[in-house]
Symmetry: C2
Subunit: 215 residues, 2 copies
């Protein structure tokens, strides 16, 4: 397990949308970082050392250059974005960013990521048929709310791309893997393309290189 | 539906823990506010006017003195606490506050509030027996994490009461209504008492007075 050495160290997994958020922002901000990518079924996020960073045993965890470790993807976004255009100064614009960040965690992640996980990652949707039906109902409601919000605006919170967009992007962009039809939500589909075209965008999966990826 | 008139207007319900958070912070900060309390089954949070404030149709919604409306309880806390001791300035302490705010929404609310709702509010636990079993497993894990965090500290994020404590308090304090035994989590139980003893604390339910409560 690498110790902090003056740069950010992101502990992630290849398929985690929550970790993708953090890589997206690090890339947008041009912040150099080392990446430690876990294969979750191997259990290495359940070691005492990892649990000391995040008692939930989940990625992402960000080790700061000071050596401290942060968990909760959106808290990491807030910390990294402070003082940058991705998080406006205190006021109503920042409040809107925070509103859509909490919306993502409270309303969007579970139905969007849950359906994607069982359908496209675990590939055992029959084990969760009832939950998937409930997730699809809730997730389509979430997508409808986002579609209405984006009807007359380019980005979720303010007139530019903020961490509200970065946070909501991964699981919405990947929602078709979970059986959602973004064709029903044209404003969301256009926003997904818009966020993907931002300078600094990085895909979920990049070819690992020795310089960037350990484990 | 009252229009904004230069003070905060909190749209809440009598039993919502998410709304309780906001009343707690408004009280701690000594901010005057008017309160509009909904009886949720009456459907008045599903009107077009309410949905324009919060498309989820949920309380709390806070109307700001400027007339703008915010939803997501923790986003409201962040907005109100900015520049006060309840939200430290940017840095690691603020990052810890944000981490425990997102932990509450992502991990704690559903299992704690879900079990409480079906057992103590709706009083139809038999309809959700399987979910309640899952919530109890997840909720006890959450309470164990909080208990470990509070083993050597008085408050969740920093050395004083912050919005991280205000946000996590309501559903943890009410968790026994959902079948949780705080006797298993002595550090959590002591923290609940500690938060409750903070100056400015207000109970979930106060007797309504004509001056404070409409609807």
């Amino acid at each position: 397990m690498p110790a902090a050495d003056g740069v950010y160290v992101l502990h992630d997994s290849r398929l985690s949308g929550n970790a993708w958020k953090v890589r997206l922002l690090l890339s947008h901000l041009g912040l150099p970082f080392r990446r430690v990518t876990y294969v979750l079924p191997e259990g290495k996020t359940r070691t005492p050392e990892f649990l000391a960073w995040n008692p939930l045993g989940k990625v992402p965890v960000l080790e700061l250059p000071t050596g401290e470790a942060l968990f909760e993807s959106c808290a990491i976004l807030c910390h990294l974005a402070e003082g940058t255009p991705f998080l406006p100064p205190p006021g109503i614009d920042r409040a809107r960013v925070m509103q859509w960040l909490f919306f993502e965690q409270a309303e969007a992640v579970k139905p969007l990521a849950g359906a994607r996980f069982w359908i496209a990652v675990a590939r055992r949707p029959e084990e969760k048929a009832a939950e998937i039906a409930e997730w699809h109902a809730a997730g389509n409601r979430v997508l409808g709310i986002l579609d209405a919000r984006l009807a007359a605006r380019e980005f979720l919170a303010t007139d530019r791309c903020t961490i509200a967009d970065i946070a909501n992007f991964p699981y919405v962009a990947m929602s078709p893997e979970g059986g959602y039809d973004l064709g029903r939500y044209p404003n969301v589909a256009a926003w997904v393309d818009r966020v993907r075209r931002q300078p600094g965008h990085v895909p979920l999966i990049e070819e690992p290189t020795a310089a960037k990826e350990s484990v």
